[in-house]
Symmetry: C2
Subunit: 225 residues, 2 copies
């Protein structure tokens, strides 16, 4: 099928459309490369940026992407060792491609202990869930795609001496605290000695966060686009 | 806490941030109303548009939202009767707020029958999964947030006489077929006699799709923002 006929209406009730998943993915990333300014990024960073653009359908977002110096390498190495993957919400966990991981990602948001902690402390469940991260935080890859409060709390925990994850992918979306929490992550990461990837501004979300992790998993199996 | 101090850095290692979930939600929607042009929409449509903006962190997207004439009403009535909710992917299913529904949403993407159908037919699993929708399609609310091929296939099935859902929320994201499939939905819905909501262009995704359904569920319990 040529590019022009990837999708075409052939009659009132029928469409001709590419239905081979590999062909769809190849063509998607060909278009993303064409539409996105990737010149500022290393090869591995480009894979992450393209997955973020793919998840949002919005090439301009590349200008908002930030990577700490060894972020992709630290993430790839930790994932190659089957590190814990800690997620703020179930949708992020759901978005991590299962065929590429051996250990199920962790999310404590719906853990009964979390609801009780949140109630007792009068804080968000997203914040309370982090109390249950302590034991698995060291060397983990953290995915925060939804809750700015979780990202703020994590930064505070690390500043106060909590074990350090190998990589924080912090990309919460929204209007209250999302941009601020990502800016905070970007501002303090060097001082705290943590590797991170983030998407500055209001945009973000579960899909871009898990897609960023999936990009690193794909680099590890040499699946480059 | 005043608006100015919703988030504030109070020392090198500490942030002051609003951690009351209700306050965060109220303030988010106050900002969204301020930033988004909602003048073209009815009260219920506004609730959907604001949830979409909330999920994407992108107010400009409101200009791309489309509703068929009775879309919100048809969706609300079907959901009030605890209709089947059919999802193209697990992330969409995960995004539907569980406390507001009595029946678990359905997703057949990982059903063993789907993988076999896809292999035999040489098509995407997203398309193949729709073969398993037939029995529950009548009067359902359909959520397609990821796969353009699923949306194309659904339109073909309905054109060929398949039972009609009460509402199609069609908001796949991406570069190959996403914009085309949503344009097709918008162009044919009147002729096919179906109610629909869509977000034209490349943007969309699991989060906006389930958020649109959640907006209707909230209208049904008079939770307006």
């Amino acid at each position: 099928m040529t590019q022009d006929t990837f999708f075409q209406q052939v009659s009132d009730n029928a469409y001709q459309y590419e239905n081979n998943p590999q062909a769809i993915e190849q063509e998607s990333f060909r278009q993303i490369r064409e539409l996105t300014d990737l010149s500022a990024f290393t090869q591995d960073q480009q894979q992450v940026v393209m997955r973020v653009v793919h998840s949002l359908g919005f090439p301009d977002v590349s200008t908002q992407m930030r990577f700490s110096q060894h972020a992709t390498q630290a993430g790839r190495e930790a994932l190659a060792k089957h590190c814990a993957i800690l997620c703020d919400v179930e949708m992020v966990k759901q978005g991590v491609t299962k065929r590429m991981i051996e250990r199920e990602p962790l999310c404590f948001l719906n853990d009964p202990r979390t609801a009780e902690l949140a109630k007792n402390k009068g804080e968000t469940r997203s914040m309370a869930a982090l109390s249950l991260w302590q034991d698995t935080l060291a060397g983990s890859v953290v995915l925060i795609g939804n809750a700015p409060t979780a990202l703020f709390r994590l930064l505070e925990m690390i500043a106060q001496g909590a074990p350090k994850p190998a990589l924080i992918i912090g990309m919460p979306v929204g209007f209250v605290g999302a941009a601020e929490s990502k800016e905070a992550l970007w501002q303090v990461h060097e001082r705290l000695g943590i590797e991170c990837m983030t998407l500055l501004g209001r945009m973000g979300g579960s899909a871009v966060t898990s897609a960023s992790c999936n990009a690193l998993l794909r680099c590890n199996i040499q699946e480059y686009y």
